[in-house]
């Protein structure tokens, strides 16, 4: 297997706070890599840095062997790397369908001049985009809320919508920031089934930050443990759980967490 994302000695400091400190890790192509660690371990900061929202203070990041250090998010999007947010970031006063249709890049009609001049072409492209969006909606069981404003969805539906936008992006490398947070058990099962399906059948690579250890255990291999801005250890969930250092840092020393 080859590395899709390679993080090499990356640091991100905010003033005196070393949120990410000389961190190195790789996400293998076709894997569902879990990223866990106690609060403040630097997971989300690392995500933001990889996804181009922050420029790293030091270090190098590559995507499929290409140096992407410091590239802005919209460039990374077109290189096939997208992220989702811990708190759903839907476009509230737009319909669910619009939330999906807005995502694909390079639409002719995204230029105002071209939508004035080449309306028929814009319309026929729009039909293609809409068909893809409808497919995505039925895949996620959201077709019945197609015309609802996204702001009116339940928390869980918003998470599904977030995943829908990822699918619409066409990107194959996805950073998911706590997809399970605030989602009920039933929906969580759906969500992890979708993630697994996208991984196995459509070749998506995932890197997931998650606090729900069951979800991580079920989906992720390998699991990377971060603490104090750097990688502490990595391996299969079963092994990681037994690592005394991890238990100390993460599970607060309580052996009971190791079930």
């Amino acid at each position: 297997m080859s590395a899709t994302i390679a993080v090499e000695n990356v640091s991100k400091f905010f003033g005196g706070v070393r949120a990410v400190n000389d961190c190195s890790l790789t996400v293998e192509k076709g894997s569902i890599t879990g990223l866990i660690g106690p609060n403040g371990a630097g997971k989300t900061t690392l995500f933001n840095t990889v996804a181009g929202f922050f420029k790293p203070t030091a270090g190098r990041i590559t995507l499929d062997g290409r140096d992407i250090t410091g590239l802005p998010p919209h460039r990374l999007f077109h290189l096939g790397l997208v992220r989702t947010f811990q708190i759903p970031h839907e476009f509230s006063r737009m319909t669910v369908l619009e939330n999906l249709c807005v995502v694909p890049g390079g639409q002719t009609g995204e230029s105002l001049m071209r939508s004035w001049l080449f309306w028929p072409r814009v319309k026929s492209e729009e039909r293609t985009v809409r068909r893809r969006a409808e497919d995505t909606l039925s895949f996620l069981n959201l077709a019945h809320v197609r015309d609802e404003l996204a702001g009116n969805l339940s928390g869980g539906q918003k998470k599904l919508l977030e995943l829908g936008r990822v699918i619409m992006s066409g990107a194959k490398t996805i950073l998911l920031d706590e997809p399970g947070a605030g989602v009920n058990r039933t929906l969580l099962a759906d969500l992890s089934a979708h993630i697994r399906h996208l991984n196995r059948d459509r070749g998506y690579t995932f890197c997931i930050i998650e606090h729900d250890m069951d979800l991580i255990a079920e989906l992720c291999d390998p699991v990377i443990v971060m603490a104090q801005g750097a990688v502490m250890t990595q391996g299969k969930m079963a092994d990681v759980r037994r690592d005394p250092a991890v238990i100390e840092a993460y599970f607060g020393g309580g052996g009971a967490a190791d079930t």
């Binding site: 996804a51 929202f53 802005p72 998010p73 919209h74 999007f77 077109h78 997208v82 992220r83 989702t84 947010f85 970031h89 839907e90 476009f91 509230s92 006063r93 737009m94 319909t95 369908l97 619009e98 249709c101 807005v102 995502v103 890049g105 639409q107 002719t108 009609g109 995204e110 230029s111 105002l112 939508s115 004035w116 309306w119 814009v122 319309k123 729009e126 039909r127 985009v129 809409r130 068909r131 409808e134 197609r146 015309d147 404003l149 936008r165 992006s169």
Partner: protein, 325 residues
């Protein structure tokens, strides 16, 4: 006929000015309604447009730049172009700021523009302003000329409306609204936020500049008082919010309703004794605020709320009854 003309002169004049405000309101709708940019410096772009067209179309004058005696159409186009260039420069500097800071920056810049207008005599004739600005259709008798100018304003509104509706219903409008709703998420969806914001800022400001030019040609005079933030920036904002931010028809309706209230109250306050009339200026602002309150209490998103465009039908263009493969 003459009596009818006298009777109609007031509503025609009122609608003309309301229409010019509607132009500016459509410009603000591009910035705030579509894209969520808080431009508190409308008066600045209004002034740039008004003075550009005034300088280009008036007869030569020794005291200030120009005039160049060019046709009004040239003045209008150049007013848009100048406002666009100024907006490009300002946008470049300020659009990376978050919304509230953008508002502060644009207030400041509009004030700077107003002071330039007031003090750079060689350019704008300073506080004396630029008189004798030509008005199209002046070769007609007064009343038909007034009606013809109203028709011109209406035609310009129609063109802007159609162009903006197309934009709003296209993927362009969708991207703009996505940026308004959630900038981070739009960025994560691969959109170049800075460029898009600049686009909306420049386009909206060009339309505001056109509004300024239309006003200058309508009242045939432009001076620094005409660019007071109160009667430009404040009113245009109230119009858009009352009419329905994000809705182009709402922007037009809001302009007509608020301008009607504003100028009708002038009719009333003009009857008051001089001493009271002076104070009544503030009462009018209060009445406008009250009207806005009442409208927003009844309809929180304005008279005509924003509606997401209808999704494109998938089977369009295929005759009915045929299989949809």
């Amino acid at each position: 006929m003459a009596e009818l003309a006298t009777f109609l002169a007031y509503p025609v004049g009122l609608l003309t000015i309301a229409g010019i405000y509607a132009v500016m309101c459509l410009g603000l709708n591009v910035q705030w309604g579509f894209t969520g940019l808080f431009n508190a410096g409308i008066a600045g772009f209004f002034a740039v447009g008004a003075y550009t067209s005034a300088i280009l179309t008036t007869a030569p004058h020794p005291d200030y730049l120009g005039g160049f005696g060019l046709p009004v159409a040239v003045g209008l186009v150049c007013a848009m172009a100048t406002a666009g260039v100024v907006a490009l420069g300002i946008g470049w500097l300020t659009l990376s700021l978050r919304s509230d800071y953008l508002a502060i920056a644009t207030i400041g810049i509009a004030e700077i523009l107003r002071l330039i207008v007031k003090n750079e005599d060689w350019l704008t004739n300073g506080p004396r302003g630029i008189p004798a600005i030509p008005r199209p259709f002046e070769w007609l008798p007064p009343f038909p000329a007034q009606v013809a100018y109203l028709a011109l304003v209406a035609a310009i509104i129609a063109v802007i409306y159609i162009a903006l509706e197309r934009g709003l219903n296209s993927p362009w409008g969708r991207v703009m609204r996505a940026i308004r709703e959630n900038e981070e998420s739009a960025r994560a969806a691969g959109k170049d936020i800075m460029r898009r914001r600049l686009e909306a800022f420049v386009l909206g400001s060009m339309i505001m500049g056109l509004g300024g030019a239309l006003m200058a040609h309508s009242i045939k005079f432009i001076g620094p008082e005409a660019t007071e933030p109160l009667i430009v920036t404040f009113l245009v904002w109230v119009m858009l919010i009352a009419g329905g931010s994000g809705n182009n028809r709402g922007a037009i309706l809001g302009a007509v309703v608020i301008w009607a209230i504003w100028s009708m109250t002038e009719l009333v306050t003009r009857q008051l004794p001089a001493d009271w009339a002076l104070r009544s200026a503030y009462l009018r602002v209060f009445l406008i605020g009250l009207a806005l309150q009442i409208i927003l209490q009844r309809a929180s998103s304005g008279l005509l709320a924003e509606k997401p465009p209808k999704p494109i039908p998938l089977d369009e263009g295929e005759p009915k009854g045929r299989s949809r493969g």
